[in-house]
Every structure is written in structure tokens, then in C-alpha cells.
Amino acid sequence: MIFPAILFFVCALLAIVGAVMVILAREPIHSALALILVMMSLAVLYLLLGAEFIAAVQILVYAGAIMILFVTVIMVINAGVEERTDFSKIAKFAGLPLGFFLLLETAHWLYHSAIGAAIANGPGAHAEAFSTRELSTELFRRYLLPFEATSILILIAVLGALVLARKDE
């Protein structure tokens, strides 16, 4: 089957194009849409890797909740076109090449690492998809404490947002 390979390259390309668009777009809402594109293509990649549950959660929480919050906030505060500011000379001449070099080196290292040689193919190929049941068992047994901690974290976040949004008396 050649479909996984095609799908991988198409989605990888879409993700990179989306990430570049996040940087280049002047309107915040265009950046948000580009980021949604990245998230959707990552969801497809998760499906390719056999992580169905994570793909669904990625769409449900990231694209369906977090980004909608972003878009709504952009609409509410009417964030216009971004201002352009001069950044420092050092950043311009040293930062970019250095950053690019770092990226290249990371990619090189990852590409030649032992783990990178493993083969990843999702359901349909020889590898089985991760079972959601197994993941949930793991979450509620081994990771029970972190799981409960995240619920408290969410509670605190909700309270924090409420406190921030409250009108001053």
C-alpha cells in the first residue's frame, strides 16, 4: 500500500505550510486558521501512527475548543493587523542562521538516531492500532495521580478565568 506514504507527505507538507503561514500572516485570524490547518494535518498523522483516540482528542480539544476560543477572543477584542517593529541587528544577522543551523542539526540527529530507524505504519499495515481501552486503563491505573491533578488544574484554570473576567465592584 502506497497510500500511507502519500498521506504522510501531503499532511507533513500541509503542516509545514500552515506553520509558515502562522508566521507570515498579518491578520491574527489568518494565523489562527493556519494553526488549525497544522492541527488537522497532525490529527491525520496521528491516525497514520495508529493513535485514533489521540487524533479524535486533538480535533475535539485543540481544533474544536482551544482554537475556537482564540478565534472568539480575536473577534471580541477586534485584534487588527499586526504592527511591524524593527528587531535588533544581531537577531537579524546572527539569529536566523543560528536558528536554522540548530534546526538542521536537530533534524540530522533525529534522523540518524536509533529510534528513528523504527518503522511506523498505522492500521492497515503490519502494525496494530493502539487500543483505546488499553490507553484508558493506563490512564486510570498508572497515571491516576497526574490525571486527578489535571482535573484540579482545570478547576483552577476555570476559577482563574472567572476571577479575571469578573467586573470590578
Binding site: P4, Q58, A65, L69, I115, A118, A120, L135, G160, A161
Partner: protein, 102 residues
């Protein structure tokens, strides 16, 4: 070409993370700066899932789950702060935000 090595996913993850860092440094709007953090988190998630696939263990997926939950909490508080900033100052430019109290 019928199989995709894990390294492809890892390289993609690294590239996305790098682009996220670039966006974080270059963008001037608070909201887009915030979005680039989300982009970096997404890149890390991809690496986690790829590692989980390489080892055939679900632990990586559990981490991704936690990252997503924390990102949701962060977005809730962060965007509330952004709305407050927008109400109290005239600009959303991060460079103009140089005082803690006003």
C-alpha cells in the same frame, strides 16, 4: 516507498517546533505569540506519539493527553489575560507591554 520510518515524523516534529520558536520570537501580537506556544506544544505531541509507536507502548499517548489538557487550561487563563490586556491598554503589541502595573 511503502513504509515510513519514525525518523520522518521526528524530523517533521523538529521542523514544526523550530517554526513555532521562530513564530514566538517574531510575532508582535500577544495572541499570535500565544498561538506559537500552541504550535510548539503540537510539535512535541507529534514526537510523543511517534515515540509511542516506536516502542509500541501507550505511555506516550498518555503524555499527549496530559499535554492537551494542560494546553486547554493554559488557553483558558491566557486568553482571559489577553482580553484584560486589550481592555486596559490600547495596543496588543508585546513590545509596548513593559510595565507590570499601570
Amino acid at each position: 516507498m511503502s513504509v515510513i520510518p519514525i525518523s520522518y515524523y521526528l524530523v517533521l516534529s523538529a521542523v514544526l517546533f523550530g517554526l513555532g520558536v521562530v513564530a514566538f520570537v517574531f510575532k508582535r501580537n500577544v495572541i499570535t505569540v500565544f498561538m506559537s506556544v500552541e504550535l510548539m506544544l503540537n510539535a512535541v505531541n507529534l514526537a510523543f506519539v511517534a515515540f509511542a509507536r516506536a516502542h509500541g507502548q501507550v505511555d506516550g499517548l498518555a503524555y499527549v493527553f496530559f499535554v492537551i489538557v494542560v494546553a486547554a487550561a493554559e488557553a483558558a487563563v491566557g486568553l482571559a489575560i489577553v482580553v484584560m490586556l486589550a481592555q486596559n491598554r490600547e495596543s496588543l503589541n508585546v513590545e509596548r507591554m513593559n510595565s507590570l502595573k499601570f
